[in-house]
Amino acid sequence: MAATGDVLGTGVSALLAMQRALTTVGHNIANVNTEGFNRQRVDLGSRLPQVAGDGFIGQGVQVTSVRRIFNSFLSEQARTTSSTFNQLDNIYAFASQMDNLLADPQAGLAPSLQDFFNAVHDVADDPTSAPARQVMVSQGNAMATRFQFIDERFTSLYDGVESDMRSTLTEVNSLASSIAQANQDIIIAQGRAPGQPPNDLLDTRDQFISELAKLVGVTTLDEGGGVTNIFIGNGQALVVGTQFRELEVTSAGFDLSRAEITFKPPFSSGVITDFVSGGRLGGLVEFRREVLDPASNTLGRLAIGMAATFNAQHQLGLDFNGAQGGQFFNVPVPKVFPSRNNTSNTNISVSISDASVLTAADYRLTFDGTNAWTLTNLDLSQTVTLSGAGTNANPFVGDGLRFSVEGLSAGAGDSYNFLIQPTRQAAGNLSVAISDPALVAAAAPLRVTAPTANGGNGQIDLGAVTAFTSLPLSANGGAITLTFDVSTAAGTPAAVASNAVSFVGTKGTQAIDFSGLTLGNIDDGDSLIIGGNRFIVDSTGAVADNFTTRSYYVDTSAVASLDDLANAFATKINAIDASGSNTFTQNSLDTIPAAAAGVITITSAYATSTSTQIAVTGNAFDTGGVGETAGTTLTAGTGPAAGDIITLNNQDFVFNFLGSGVVTGGAQTQVTIADTAANTAAAFAAAVDPQASISAAAVGATATITADTAGSAGTVLVTDTNTVADSGISQVVTAGTDASGVLPGFTVTNGPGGTIAYNPVTESGGKTFTLATPFGAISFTLSGTPINGDTFVISDNTNGVGDNRNALLLANLQEQLTLAGSTVTYQEAYAQLVADIGSQTRETSVNRDAQSSLLDLAVEARDSVSGVNLDEEAANLLRFQQAYQAAAQLIAISNQMFDELIGVIRS
């Protein structure tokens, strides 16, 4: 049997429960627009039944819990997507500022680069014009100003990043504090109602975390007990339980002007900037590192590269005053930042060694504590090979940079770490070094002249000077003259061999030795030079001698051996000596031989007055023929006739007197020996066998050898002790196997000296030469056919104010591949920068749009679970309202039941 109180109790329980439910629906409706609100639901459960004999009697309903509808996975997803989206959004915001800057055709760099080089062209058109030079200097200044302007915009972006960082960190700090506070509140709340979730507090905390995720990427960890810990970066704790740490902007890195993120003291743990990712803060860090730094470096590299290469060419020219060109631009210097932990405070020196191979990377130079310095390219994370020793005289060189660590005296145990930024913000330091237009170096340092006295049609073209070493010529030996010589020492005359023709001079015996030659190597044109006379091989026998050039042709048509060759030369030399031509005198052949001790030489086949000869008079002796060698026996009867010549080959002639036969004494046994050269004191001496005597003779006189006894045999050694100083042989001949004969070419006066081989017969189309060190910067091309004695003069370009060769080279620098390892021109480098920024901006924009769609989907998914739908709540209102009304009715019925009961009892 049911108690009336049961109905009441059930009714009341329902009423109370429905009241809760309506309150909760009302709470949902009220918070339809609250950010981060998760709709709540009342969990209803039936009360414990009463046990009766006839069954379990239900006791009504109770509220077991008020719960929020919350999917942690979807919520997490929405949060991380929001982090990424905000990061991209912030990157895009900054990148598009850079993009817009470079897009503006007036504010960009390209027009002022172009205007500058056009001004250089105008100077090339008229180098003497002072206005044109002034315009070039002004345009140079305008271009430097434009570089500085763009660099300033970059600097303001750096400043913008820093200030955004500061304000974001302030927000992060306040959110961290709020989250820590929320953790605290939740713990307390859970303590008050154990088992029941403090929904609104949880919502609030989740909302704080979502806000934080927009600012920086976070990782959450539910510690349990109602506490959520927050981590940023790669594991740095921001909130742990009810404690939180604050972040701040410092300059704790190498570069004191660069904003870095670190925890505030007392939790400072070093710079964590590079670990931060996600959210607006991550966006700032990534933008600065991936977009702004490279852009600044690339612009700086362009500024340095252009200034250095332009300077290099400018310094190869002459200015209006005739002085060597100086620097046109002041080249920005690399930045060096020593670490605070370096063993000593001495700084290293860094400069640019080769602007054309500069990269857009930053570098680190470290000392390993023993003896080695290492250079690392921070973009590629690769070590760079260094050459040199690191001293001022022999610096380290690598990647276009030059380092000197002299003065640092790094030893064992020392630690050194330098950050090197060769091109960062270098563009801001570009400036023009000259202000006087006369200092523009438009002219080239040298010019060349072909004197009008030249008779041939040779030509010379001067090449571009490659360095200023050994210039100006006036301080390095004077103008260089090239004189064409049909035969120069640059060619080696053919040497000779065997059966030498000897010429004796003051330098001792000069033997012309044919023995080392190969007959097959002797060609037409090979020659022997003696005192300026040239004896040239001619196998046709038909070429006429040329007395003007002193070229005489040796007929070698019948030569079959080296002996024959030697004899052919000897014959020709003799013939020339006494040709009888009335324009050629014998004295022009400088090889008047003189006898040295022990030697008699005959050179001439003619009995002319000034040559040495031996004339044999009388016919008492038989030589057996002309050309006897020592030891020959003269036999009587068929002796030499008067006028016969006996040729001695560098040896003493021995007259052997034979006994018996028709030899008779007296005059007919005389051999007269005459040395009729116009020489100094002569004397004949003879070692005489007792059977003969020889009388001494003076110059020009004859000596007589007389057989003492008719019929006796004996030997007479005749020597001529006459020594004569002659002019000697001016050409020293060395044996060799040269088959090319005499080479025509140019002798070089001043400069490096020496000779240059040039054969007009084969090379008249043009041949290029570079002078020997230290004049190796000078080169030229010779062509055409000069004649003997023609000259070319290379001299300083004094007063050459109308010369524009250097200006042309400067103007053409804009077409040269000068930068990035000689792969791009100046304008191409700039265009690459613009394209890079543009495509990075584009990429970010596309990614951001994609991320935005993802974010929408994630939010939608989350809200589809936990968002409030008013229509649904309206329906719930009706539902719970009806239940409430029904429950109220139940109470009313219970009351009626009670009234009935009481009524029955009373009456």
Partner: protein, 519 residues
Amino acid sequence: MRISTAQIFQSSTRTILDQQASISYTQAQLGTGRKILTPADDPAGAAKILELTKALSVNEQFQRNADAAEGRLSREENALVGVENILRRVSDLAIQGNNDSQSPGSRRDITTELRQRIDELIGLANTKDANGEYLFAGFQANTQPFARASGGGFSYAGDQGQRFMQISPSSQVADGDSGADVFQLIRNGNGTFTTLDNANNNGTGIIDPGRVTDNGAYVRDTYTINFPFQTVAGSTLTFNDVNANDTLAYTLDINGTTVYTVDETGTPVSSLAALAGVINDDSGATGVRAIVNGTTLYLTSTTPSTSDITVTETLSGFTPGDGDTIAGYFGGALNGDTGASDNTVFSPDDATVYLIEDAAGNIETVGAYQEDAFINFQGIQTLFKGNPMNGDQFTLSPSLNQDLFTTMENLVTALESPSGLADDRARLHNQVNRVLADIRQAETSLSQVRARVGGRMQVIEGERVSNDAASFQMKSVLSNIQDLDIAEAASRFNMQLISLQAAQQAFVRVQGLNLFNFL
């Protein structure tokens, strides 16, 4: 799937905002007429635009360079025309002055005008361009190039530099020629050799400037044309010592100096070459030299002279009455008893024979002299008018460079030289002929320079045309990349407007629906 109320509003608003952003972008494009608003819109395109803009600017600069070059070249052309006119006038004056009907007085009038012309020429050579730079000074544009030298002659203070202008990416053109090229590097004579009469000639021979008929045969050398005496000398000397009791001696004197003596015990020279040799050994004292060609011995004076050459052969050392004789080289039949000495006298007169030697003394050719007859040797051809005298000499030497002013001065000198005597007149004609030949060479050289100048101007014109074409091409490529297609953008704009309207209307409809409206 459930949608929260907030979501409904969110998604509608988002759509409308997106549409507005697109419309704004299209509006910006339409407003500027450009397809690419920032490099992010088309990074590769943006880089290409920079490249093309630079190329266009460089092209314009090339046109400016070409204009500068053209200016100087036409100035040079004008100056050269002036020089050619002067040369033509000088040529006329030379021909006028060469005429024998002229008197010293009338020649003086000519030389007066010539002097003015020389000054005019110097003025032209010192022409300045529009910027005040000297045209013909090479690199030394602020230095006056030509002036009279203090010791006579003319000096050139410039150099041989030549300035080039860049008129296209690959071609440079010279904007002038140096003074050396135009006025100094002119070969004299006929371009290969020049003819010169000896200043002491006594005849009336006038030599033609000549020409090279065979380049292969021509050997560069200095050739001398002599007009010697032909002798009947032989190469043998015969002693006839009757009774063999003497030592006969033979003496050969030329112009009173003994050049050779030999007796019968000695060995007399037995060849003409040797005979010439002994004669030439003493040519310093005698003023006579001998030339042998084959079997003929010629005698000529070492410098032109009107004196006789006397060859005397003498026999000595004979026993009178023996009847000793010597047959001398020169045909002298010397007889101790009847005539121990013999004279042969050669008197200078109109030459009958010419003999040409090279610088080494080798004989090129020998021939009978005839007025107006060609003389050919070694690829050279020349001829004579008038009558050279024995002893006269003419030389043909290789051409050298001679400047224009000197040529004109030579004409003045020639016309001012005496013309009274026949040989003086011949000398004058020879000089004037030389000047005329030099002037012809100068005219050829100048026309070559003018041709070069004309050629350069043609090159400039050609490059201008191709630069224009390249410019046009680049501009159209630039337009393709950069300019907006208005039709496409306008229709896109329309479509976006419609989309926006649709989104807005949909939003209005949806947001009005709410269950609470019906409660």
